[in-house]
Symmetry: C2
Subunit: 201 residues, 2 copies
Amino acid sequence: MPQSPIGPELQRMIDLLAKLPGLGPRSAKRAALHLLSKREGLMRPLAFAIAEAAEKVEACTVCGNLDSINPCAVCTDETRDTSVLCVVQDVGDLWAMERAGAHRGRYHVLGGLLSPLDGIGPDDLKVGGLVERAHSDDVREVILALAATVDGQTTSHYIAEQLDASGVDVTQLSQGVPVGGELDFLDEGTIAAAMRTRRPA
Amino acid sequence: MPQSPIGPELQRMIDLLAKLPGLGPRSAKRAALHLLSKREGLMRPLAFAIAEAAEKVEACTVCGNLDSINPCAVCTDETRDTSVLCVVQDVGDLWAMERAGAHRGRYHVLGGLLSPLDGIGPDDLKVGGLVERAHSDDVREVILALAATVDGQTTSHYIAEQLDASGVDVTQLSQGVPVGGELDFLDEGTIAAAMRTRRPA
């Protein structure tokens, strides 16, 4: 076997890039060559930005969002409605909700979903903090924006139970036909759910 | 429009990650969350590896390969056949040749292909260095391993002309049916080329 034509420093960068979701070994090499061709404009700034984010970005102690200030910009945004909390699985889902622009309240990031199969129980999620916030803040409504999966449903049920004593309204995202969704391409479960929860046209 | 839920440090890292080939804005966000969830194991090492590669990796002054030593590991590998030079478009193609394990000589990285449409002429490529090497080294054969495109062919013709006076054998990769290729899915040009260059079975 001939020696690899790729030196150790370059190989190390490629190996680490290949661990990013969305990049494999082949595309990590392409990314490495692209970086080396743009050293000042991209490569050094990226190294600096990753190091700086690793240093400064942390989980908000109130809601679990990731930000370089704590409490985070969402929690300290005075224009947001503090009476509505939206519960999401992770920060990616918080960003998705914000992209949709459908929620102007605050958030609570669970950090996962209950999953007996994966050994994830209530103690692994930030449910305690949520119950506390529901009691202590001026919260009126908690919206459960969790995945429409078995784990998501189980988690929603569990949280609704835990919030029972707080007296807040607990709601969840409705299930149905996605916007732009053609029935022909939808799974039976979604169509059945959309039928069950049909409403006046 | 509400304030973005993503702080400036995080957004900056995401914007730079999104400039990598293979990552878009959406997958850059996913990559950022993945990095933040693996700060010690992946994020800080990656920042360090990119910074170190930016510092240490440079183009080999002999062949144009990228390495942290100069001349590169390929050029200084005593076990390689110094009489055969393989001409490739870029370092990615050098790596592809090495993956194939079909060349045990040295390389010459052109840095591109002639392309009148894109305004890339002979002076933009490292042809001069190649002609010099073909004359001065103990080179017997120059293999043109360039793309089977119009630009690749044009470049091969041009290089063959330039090397005429050196007296070395100039060869190029043959064109034909790719290994595992089904005729039904091949373009007409490839089939026609494979017919023209057919050989005894």
